[in-house]
């Protein structure tokens, strides 16, 4: 795991963190189809409100994937309210994806495919977006936010945006997130904590609830990413975030941060 901090350039944070992991080539093979999943949450909020993933963090990942020789870089999310086109525009993500040479994918209702999650205990059957299933590389780029149901919404919960029937997942959500993570197996998780939302999440709307941390966490381990991110909110026990606890119990990732090699990088 690598954590980059400081400076005022989100792209530099992403680049340094990914470099510390051994470079983007470790994750994105030449010619791969990459799908990047930011958090578009709701349309109508610009990135300063820390409701949606930082546009330059997403843009940096698009650039890195391109540099690694990806054949196609799609950026997709199924926002909870509002159209994806609107969300891409108001968040500012659409512009950065375009500038970096990626493609935005607007939700097309016919592309949700029924999927049986093998070995899953809680989320056995659901509709997943076909482009997610078709991608060779799945990069999850959540923004770190407060959330009343789960406590925080980080990487594992961000993956809900690949599903069609989202409200239905809320019952026993922490268990279902583990099943979904085991199914999607994100190649890389990059937690955007350039700005975090500390209250009234996940939809925010008040700059008073935003803290600027200029931090980016990158790791292949979806559980560890969330576990580390809880610290940004002053949590001492990552297991309080139940999807971390259950994820570690199921063995899809690690919550014992003290035993992990974590590269802390200071930028700028």
């Amino acid at each position: 795991m690598a954590v980059a901090r400081g400076g005022d350039d989100p792209e530099a944070l992403v680049r340094r963190a990914v470099e510390a992991l051994g470079g983007i080539g470790r994750f994105v093979p030449h010619g791969a189809r990459v799908l990047i999943k930011p958090n578009l949450c709701i349309s109508g909020r610009s990135y300063e409100y820390a409701v949606t993933t930082n546009p330059w963090v997403v843009g940096a990942l698009v650039k890195l994937s391109r540099e690694a020789g990806a054949s196609r870089v799609l950026v997709f999310d199924n926002p909870t309210t509002g159209s994806s086109e609107d969300a891409f525009t108001t968040s500012g993500i659409g512009a950065q994806v375009g500038a970096a040479g990626g493609e935005v994918e607007y939700v097309a209702s016919m592309k949700f495919t029924p999927v049986d999650l093998r070995g899953a205990e809680w989320l056995k059957k659901t509709y997943v977006y076909d482009e997610v299933l078709n991608a060779d590389v799945f990069i999850n780029v959540p923004i770190a936010k407060h959330h009343n149901l789960t406590g925080l919404t980080l990487g594992m919960k961000n993956q809900l945006g690949t599903l069609r029937d989202r409200p239905e997942v809320h019952a026993s959500i922490q268990h279902k997130l583990v099943d979904l993570t085991a199914f999607l197996r994100p190649t890389l998780t990059v937690v955007d904590a350039v700005r975090i939302l500390v209250a009234n999440g996940p939809t925010g709307g008040s700059l008073g609830d935003v803290q600027k941390l200029d931090t980016v966490i990158a790791t292949h381990d979806p559980v560890a990413a969330d576990a580390y991110a809880t610290r940004l909110f002053g949590w001492t026990d990552p297991d309080r975030l139940l999807n971390v606890k259950y994820g570690a119990e199921q063995g899809i990732g690690r919550n014992d941060l003290e035993n992990l090699k974590i590269e802390e990088i200071s930028v700028g």
Binding site: I42, S43, G44, R45, T80, T81, G82, S83, S84, E85, D86, T89, T90, Y106, V107, A108, S109, M110, K111, D130, H147, N148, L149, P167, E168, H170, A171, S172, I173, N200, P202, T203, G204, G205, S206, D209
Partner: protein
């Protein structure tokens, strides 16, 4: 005979028919373009609502009922001016419903058409007077008969959603076949959201609206432009103005050989063979087909200064009194309707309009329904009673009022929904959400959910979490903050009726 100048050189005679069809086509194309681009990021809302603003009937009734002059409706003076010069040219050349009716005019019906007594032409005048008198009494209950609003409403709530469903179904089945997948993937971003809604459009009473429209078209079976001849209140208004229009059709008896071609081709049947093929300018749509078919160029459209003759079917004192009586009786009866009480629990109005006396301002044009990006606005079928028929209501199970959107007020041509800045709009209370604890899965089954709390878009959430009964937390609405946007009701995962519902604010809140 030979020394009488021809109205038009012969080479120009067909030209008028082509000209008219071309203008009709172009206007319909502009109309459809504006309709399709009446979306966020489309044409500016104050241009998107061009057609309702050009409509002098909706402008006039709004003025009569609301007793305030809305700046935007002044555009209708252009139409009035056009009518004063060229009679009902609006009907023949511009009206999107008239053009549509011209398209549905199969020639083979013509022989079978029964004779309809000319007195039936008086129905539209009766309707017009009833509408105007009702408006004076503050009620716009019959304005849904305005042709411009009929077309916008039908496109918005019937045609467009149906087309969307058909295309979505085709895309979905094509996407099921791997070979077609790339094609669907390439096609869909072109169609959506530029032409079709990003998310499936729901309708309220779309079938009813379609049936109404089909009914109007079906009446063409009995006579071409049946609607325009006998029923259209806007046609009546423009017709009465046309009585003093400058240019009117005239036939020179010396040039006429009584062939009757003009009477046969006249789409409104106003050319009367038994009256030396004269016509009533109030019924003539200035289509100029008669010129095209006249073998001897016997007709012209010279300037006149004296008003045209009053016909038997034109409104007399008796008819006018009867129509006014119908208005008084109708409005009185409507006021006995319990639905008129403004605090009906599910009568949710667009932001800012509840306090704005919507019933006496709204012309039922449907522009707000069209532009609403989430599909929460619909023409009321039953929610607002008979008087509020087809006025806009929020149906939160179909959509939600987006916190960062104020388009409906911007597109409303008559300020029935006030145009508000985002800040002011965000403070408008449309209703208030109430949790049904018996059905809420958190309260009744102790299941973790909190979707409503999660989705509440207010910067300081109006839904808070109560963890006293169940550690997963259950939603509680903070009445002082909730504005009734309906996002919670829209997103509630409970099947059927949501376990959190928005209720209209009571009279005390108005």
């Amino acid at each position: 005979m030979a020394d009488r100048p021809r109205a038009f050189p012969r080479w120009k005679e067909r030209y008028w028919r082509i000209m008219r069809s071309a203008v009709q086509g172009i206007v319909l194309a502009v109309f459809l373009y504006l309709f399709l681009r009446t979306v966020r990021g489309g044409v500016p809302p104050e241009i998107a609502n061009l057609f309702p603003r050009l409509d002098p009937l909706t402008g006039l009734v709004n003025l009569l009922a609301a007793k305030t002059l809305v700046e935007g409706t002044a555009l209708a003076l252009i139409t009035v001016g056009l009518t004063l010069i060229a009679g009902r040219a609006w009907c023949g050349w511009i009206c999107p419903l008239g053009t549509t009716l011209d398209l549905f005019h199969p020639r083979r019906w013509k022989n079978k058409q029964p004779a309809i007594p000319d007195t039936s032409r008086g129905i539209k005048h009766f309707l017009l007077i009833t509408i105007l008198a009702s408006a004076l009494l503050g009620s716009l209950w019959l304005i849904f008969l305005d042709p411009v609003t009929i077309v916008i409403r039908t496109l918005t709530e019937s045609v467009y959603p149906a087309i969307d469903r058909i295309i979505t179904a085709m895309e979905t089945s094509a996407y099921g076949v791997p070979v077609f997948r790339p094609a669907v993937s390439a096609l869909d971003p072109i169609l959506r959201p530029a032409l079709l809604p990003a998310t499936p459009a729901f309708t309220a009473g779309g079938v009813l609206i379609a049936a109404f429209f089909i009914g109007i078209i079906a009446l063409n079976y009995f006579a071409p432009r049946f609607w325009c001849r006998y029923l259209c209140p806007l046609g009546s208004m423009l017709g009465l103005i046309s009585k003093v229009a400058v240019f009117r059709r005239e036939i020179a008896p010396t040039d006429c050989n009584n062939c009757g071609a003009c009477a046969r081709v006249c789409p409104t049947g106003t050319i009367q063979p038994d009256k030396t093929f004269a016509s009533d300018p109030a019924e003539c749509t200035m289509c100029l087909d008669c010129i095209s078919v006249c073998p001897r160029s016997g007709q012209s459209f010279p300037a006149h200064l004296r008003p045209a003759l009053w016909n038997a079917y034109d409104p007399g004192r008796r008819q006018a009194l009867a129509a006014i009586g119908a208005a008084i009786g109708g409005v009185a009866l409507l006021h006995t309707d319990q639905y008129l009480r403004r605090d009906l629990p599910h009568l949710l109005r667009p932001p800012g309009s509840r306090e704005n006396d919507l019933l006496s301002k709204c012309i039922r044009c449907g522009e707000c329904v069209r532009i609403c990006p989430t599909g929460v606005l619909h023409p009321s079928v039953a929610e607002a009673g008979v008087e509020g028929f087809w006025t806009p209501v929020l149906i939160p199970r179909a959509g939600f009022c987006q916190y960062t959107c104020n388009l409906c007020g911007q597109v409303c041509p008559v300020e029935a929904i006030p145009s508000l800045s985002l800040e002011v709009k965000q403070a408008q209370v449309m209703g208030s959400a109430y949790v049904d604890k018996n059905r809420c899965i958190a309260w009744s089954d102790h299941q973790s959910c909190l979707v409503c709390e999660e989705m509440c878009p207010l910067p300081q959430k109006a839904i808070t979490v109560d963890r006293s009964e169940f550690e997963g937390g259950a939603p509680v609405v903070d009445r002082t903050r909730c504005i009734g946007c309906g996002t919670c009701e829209f997103k509630c995962p409970v099947n059927g009726e949501a376990a959190i519902r928005v209720f209209a604010p009571g009279r005390s809140n108005v």
